[in-house]
Symmetry: C2
Subunit: 275 residues, 2 copies
Amino acid sequence: MTREQLFEQILQKKSYLCVGLDTDPRKLPQHLLDAEDPVFEFNRQIIEATADLCVAYKPNIAFYEAQGPQGWVSLEKTLKAIPDNIFTIADAKRGDIGNTSELYARAFFETMQFDSITVAPYMGADSVKPFLVQDGKWVILLALTSNAGSQDFQMLRLEDGNEEYLFEQVLRSSAGWATPDQMMYVVGATQAEYVQRVRRLVPEHFLLVPGVGAQGGSLEEISRLGMNRQCGLLVNATRSIIYASSGPDFAEKARAEALAMQQEMEALLEELIKK
Amino acid sequence: MTREQLFEQILQKKSYLCVGLDTDPRKLPQHLLDAEDPVFEFNRQIIEATADLCVAYKPNIAFYEAQGPQGWVSLEKTLKAIPDNIFTIADAKRGDIGNTSELYARAFFETMQFDSITVAPYMGADSVKPFLVQDGKWVILLALTSNAGSQDFQMLRLEDGNEEYLFEQVLRSSAGWATPDQMMYVVGATQAEYVQRVRRLVPEHFLLVPGVGAQGGSLEEISRLGMNRQCGLLVNATRSIIYASSGPDFAEKARAEALAMQQEMEALLEELIKK
């Protein structure tokens, strides 16, 4: 999916919501456990209940990998159940030497048909570039993550005379590896105070924003600080939506949560929609 | 496997060789393509031909993931074909927020029975600690990798008054997260000039050393600089061994390459063996 197509979807749906599909078999509603593939059945109903309210789905690959081969079957079926006009993110945090990243790119862009994959920057340019295979396929690079551990290395000051943090150098360097049509960045909603520093370096790029909801980030604040003229934001919510209820009404409750976020986003998008 | 058990194996086999199992279905010898599971059959024969010469096997997970669910079946069968006294490394470069790293730990330590997994440090302590589940299960943290991209971020100087590089801060911080009985570090053989800086910070830890062979690092040099009183090195070779021949004699040729490395290692281990 291209950046223009993504922006179109955002305007159409008045939403920049990404729903995380971190489906833990141990957290499934009882009544689904008899289904042939309970994880897929859970995802299918979540997708059916939220597809008109979000512009992206983000399966967290760990949750499928933990199930062994069956997990990958559930993941592939889930991917096929997502409407084509919705952006798909393999939240995989991959990244390795060139010949290996090429294989990961094949795994997520060819074996599976994801639009994008999250990638870790530590190994540098030649670990990221193999994912930049074609227009419409995206790298979403970790910049400033939402977790406490983001302080350990991402926030280290560099001896560069600019008092820059490591995450800023990651943005600065990687922005030269691909255009805003092939690269996005992960910036946690819990990092609102640094979003302006992020936008100074990457004004045009889309940001994938985790950390709203369960992790405590504010949708309003991150949107006010991070939105650009093409929205430039995909705000993810996972647990607050997919685990809104553990009962037979899980999909209905998930929709209610997604709808509340979409409505807040519609208000925050007002100026872009007017244009 | 504990550090003592690993050192025992090294002394017994007079080898600290790790064989990488980056098995690419496109590179398999013709005569294996009719096998029920060609990737597994290739691995099985490589393992049979080299098990007495190496102390570790390192499947690169990307190569299996790229095959979809069938790849995970091949991987699980490969893992079962590895003798119990050989250390197994899931070269996965994982790392995510806590609840997700827990799932990856479950995938590689429980769903599969790997002894260790390679982990990327960028997301910090709470992305790494969930892998430290029990003695005998290891985190192998990326410190200074063997690829050109290691220059991009790992070699950035920090504003800490010590003129330290980022990879040194990664060693310094992470050495506090686990003992040398649960943590190892990836240090590329192509980085020999920095191995003394690594050893100053982590004298006791095992180092997993890629980059000998195809990538051009020197076994003799990295061993002279990096070996400690418990050897402290696992030197990996992949392409030079498993792709030594693309013919029916691939296993035989792989053994010859592994034997040559084992013999060089035996000489380099001489002083430790004497004790």
